[in-house]
Symmetry: D2
């Protein structure tokens, strides 16, 4: 419990059972403020190798123990106890279910048709608070029904839905990830573009109202679609003020306490901007923030197999034609083809690169900002 | 070359490059008949552990060397040289790309909107042959354009598209797979339901015009949609006679030459029924064939982790309430909870079960026919 | 608790901690008889995919709850909570630590020089009971010291030593394993050859006093060496009557309750023969038992890569020159090299074969009895 | 071919066959000087993820094309085509055979008894050249016999022996490796301690005449033992001048062309010091070189599972009691146990640390120099 009026509670949520028949649970830390306010949900490590978010939550808890808040903040570190614990060689095979390849971050729930159906029940006079309350109940019931499917569900989906049962009540949802070898960047729904200025993250990707299974999308798509549908149906603009983000906190496989403190301050600055903190002086840093639309966030795949030195570093501005990578061909070491350069096809900034020199054809070498702009 | 008028040619298709920088190729065996006729495309082992199809192709080639054919038969055994060669323990990790979890059988090309666009160019008088020829050229160009994407493509998609460049010219496409521990079954598009009677496969799953990325769907969805669109646009019924199937030839990780011969005869019976063979007496067997619609083909997931004996065997009729599996709980061996039965939730026939006793929660224990019927 | 005079107790032993920071424990079931007698230690699934032993222990506990015993029986099912829970594809990657390849069954403790040193402390008159008591204390202290190594120990070794702390007190140690695709067989130290007649296991491998890291060896090597050293030093023959076995209970990845009951009866017959059971009528079956010396237990490796049908079945007598396997070569399907036979190099009985058709060069295709004899 | 008198030849050596039935080969580059002299053998990437050596060989070849040499230099980059190509997640699972866990670097041949037997055939007068020639023939025959074993050999051993057939003729053998996250260091047999001054490697580990399966040991143990045995047998000191080293060229999974050039110069300085280069001015750098005996090269294992920040960096001098690592405990984030420090148990220099923050108990956190000294 904190020295202020905020209460801190620790509980455990069972999310799976392993082959030994043992329950696998995750810790759920909840801060409850003395004043009413929004609900915040923050989780980390849904991809098992992406561990920096756990340190960020460590620092968030330290800070929040000394901070008055409005509403509630739910923190779930290490939220995937299966993915965290699959080693293959020295690394963590944490991106997908090793049984079937299912991405641990693609099984959240969203039913667009049901949202559009719900939107039809909204009347011109219904207060936004009441709409939000009814809609949350609707979403929660839908997730519950899905989880109760009589023939059962796959492991990743079960895990995702159990976490989403916590997240669905939140106004602000932050899903903490890492890239392979990566600089810090964030996915922001286009309608919440202004929130980019509240975080201290230099690279911002603005994404449309499209669902591909991730938690941020599963959170904002329903509300975005609800607002759009109500506008279309009634010509009425409602603001539900629900936001959700995927934050990429640097490189996977690494934790860094120092950087984690900086990351936590960035999040606290956002939360303060949203009125979650009471009498807090966390404010956004003065810094250059760059943005890109999702269609300009490009993946560069190898069209060769071989060994690669990644020359362009994540976060570095590269001009068209400058070297991105140098490739070694072990069969041509006796001639001039022993190494060759791969050049940037256009002006770009790499956000991340593949974490191994050894690549097959069709490998994601870099993900890059192109046509980026200053915010 | 065969003793008859059929020509047999062996070529190699490069489908990927490995981290040593070496080309990975697959053998392509092509029979060309002296008479014109349809094109047949048969591949096996796109999932690396599903190897029985390779033996089936071995037997098909032996038979076809002594058979006159019309048209062309293209056979691509072991069509995934990456998936075939990833061992993890003694087994083959062949279902998905080990780098990112991408299913090797989900990256084929289909663009529904483009097909609907194409359908608008069909006139009331255009002969079906001409439509088919134009449509094939359209599909081939689309695949080629996709493969030439300037930022590149992922490995699985590259592999799929290179194979699809061969398959897109075929009238009859057979993709040979295996289940985990499995009885023989086949996926058949609903419009080609009658073809179930030409194969000697006891279990038939009828699937709708929905694309989920597999080769059979990527083959029949365009033609099905084209036919539907032309009917809608012009009120004209055209029959393109393109069929595509996924055949599940028993259990993965196993080859059996004796069963492979039986499997090959089943396929030759289909091809003979379609007029591909000349003066051949391969005819379908007299046998009971059961069918099910896809929505009644159910996956039973575990809601527990533990050790499982699979009691109900693939292909066996199970009544509601009869035992499917016996579960061991190693923490309760001193009491009556040490083992318990899992019962069938309705009348069903398991097609396959999970190949390991050890399961986490959310594991596909069985895939089952329910509401099945005799053909 | 049982209806007789035997007490049953369940405890948990922590053997490791996972990356989530959670303790991993294993259940330890202990039966204590009202009469004094030997100690028995039985564990299963040190290799995670070898699960049948868990069912055997299930049946042993059921039987022992209704049986009076002398001494103590310790049962540890599923004794490797790490290896049990590493999935890779649908199978369990349970043979070695996925981080570094360390076999989970090679880190038990044995220090031959220390045993020879200890042997020098034995006097001509020291009663065998006292020697045994002193030696057990010596072994236990050595293991404890090893575990307390200030720079720490590797995971597999820690796991092994924690289990060995239980096993070191036992007179009879049974380590329950499975082969890949396998018939039942057992490893027996040469000096305990007669015990082959107490189990109902058709295939018996007699092994010398050589330590390669496994639990059976770590158990019998010290006592064997002690007896030999005392004989050499003092010309005195002492009988310590400690025996240890590795039992291979059929194929991995499978549990079978019916066969588990038969396996349990075989073990109870051994225990009854050793005086552990009171008024029990478990007796060895009348059956043919075959034996082989370790140097005649041969591994046949592939000198090719390809796809294999394993024709000779585990347990089947094969004459020299008879077919063992049929090999498919997907690059030669257009000619007579498309398949070829692999023949037995001598008279043999396969005990096990590789569980996948797909093999690289240097794969263990079969392990075989050669020069075997009837017991 | 080079502009000088040195000839460069490229050949391919088949070392295995994969499950597709395809030969796997490695390139063998051989420089032959116009003048007689010693033979040098250099290989890289026997562990598939340790790829920097390939770049070093790239630079060596570039330099040697413009350098006169005495004798012969054999270079085998990427010498393990199996280990190079096993991906598991984005990383390369290259340390052990994924089928059975066998370390790719532990199957080389050495038979101490046979060497001692051979030593008995050496007479007091036999010239060293003749002894060396006879001994090489003996070793080569032994390896050939092993490879011809009628029941076959495991994959790793086959691979090792085929490479050793090339290395056994060499006077100087360099096996290029990488550590996980690592600074440059080298293993040097104690008798060749002076050669530490010829390389530009700051950290030197001196190892005894003990065989654990690696190529450097398999190379120097026979000659060391031969020299010792001849001294024992005849009181005669012979100098065979065969040296072998394992060089750890920084961190795995990474190639760096710039550092590779520096690494190549270090090796050329050694070769020049040994008289392999003609009129070359490669000389050892002025630098501090530290040494340690193998018994003082310590591995620090975790006695906990959790998430770790590695604070002490490879190559950095750490005093007893200074922090090595900071550990996060996700279950204790609400109290002071949320993180804790791990301190150095004595003065040390880490050579390498585990490359993932996520560790189970029993993980190799650091390998450290202790009791080190300046050379």
């Amino acid at each position: 419990m904190s020295a202020n009026n905020t209460q801190l509670k620790k509980e455990y949520l069972v999310v799976a059972q392993n082959a030994s028949g043992r329950n696998l649970n995750v810790p759920v830390y909840t801060f409850s403020g003395s004043k009413p306010g929004p609900t915040v949900y923050i989780q980390s490590s849904i991809h098992g190798a992406e561990v920096q978010g756990n340190v960020v939550i460590y620092h968030l808890i330290k800070e929040l123990k000394n901070t008055d808040i409005r509403g509630k903040i739910i923190l779930v570190p290490n939220c995937n106890p299966v993915g965290t614990n699959i080693k293959s060689g020295e690394y963590t095979l944490g991106r997908f279910d090793p049984v079937n390849g299912t991405n641990w971050n693609r099984g959240y729930f969203y039913d667009q048709a049901a949202v559009e159906q719900f939107a039809k029940t909204v009347t011109p006079e219904e207060p936004v608070d009441v709409i939000k309350h009814r809609f949350r109940a609707h979403l929660l019931a839908s997730i519950g029904k899905k989880l109760a499917e009589p023939w059962g569900l796959g492991l990743a989906q079960q895990l995702n839905l159990k976490l989403q049962q916590l997240a669905v009540n939140a106004d602000f949802v932050l899903d903490l990830h890492n890239g392979p070898v990566s600089t810090r960047h964030i996915y922001i729904p286009e309608y919440a573009k202004d929130s980019a200025l509240l975080f201290n993250i230099p690279h911002n990707i603005f994404i449309p109202n499209v669902f591909a299974g991730a938690l941020d999308e599963a959170t904002f798509c329903p509300w975005w679609t609800l607002q759009d549908s109500v506008r279309q149906n009634l010509g009425r603009n409602i603001q539900c003020n629900v936001e959700a983000f995927t934050l990429e906190m640097g490189s996977q496989e690494v934790i860094n306490f120092g950087e984690g403190s900086v990351d936590a301050h960035s999040i606290l600055s956002y939360l303060n901007g949203k009125g979650v903190l009471v009498n807090s002086d966390f404010t956004p840093a003065e810094m250059t923030r760059l943005g890109v639309y999702l269609q300009d966030y490009k993946t560069l795949y190898s069209d060769f197999g071989g060994m690669v030195e990644y020359i362009a570093k994540p976060g570095q501005k590269v001009q068209k034609g400058e070297p991105l990578a140098q490739i070694l061909d072990i069969d041509e070491l006796d001639n001039s083809q022993g190494s060759r350069m791969l050049h940037a096809p256009c002006d770009l900034i790499p956000m991340l690169n593949f974490p191994s020199a050894s690549v097959l054809s069709g490998t994601q070498l870099f993900k890059c900002f192109t046509n980026y702009f200053e915010l």
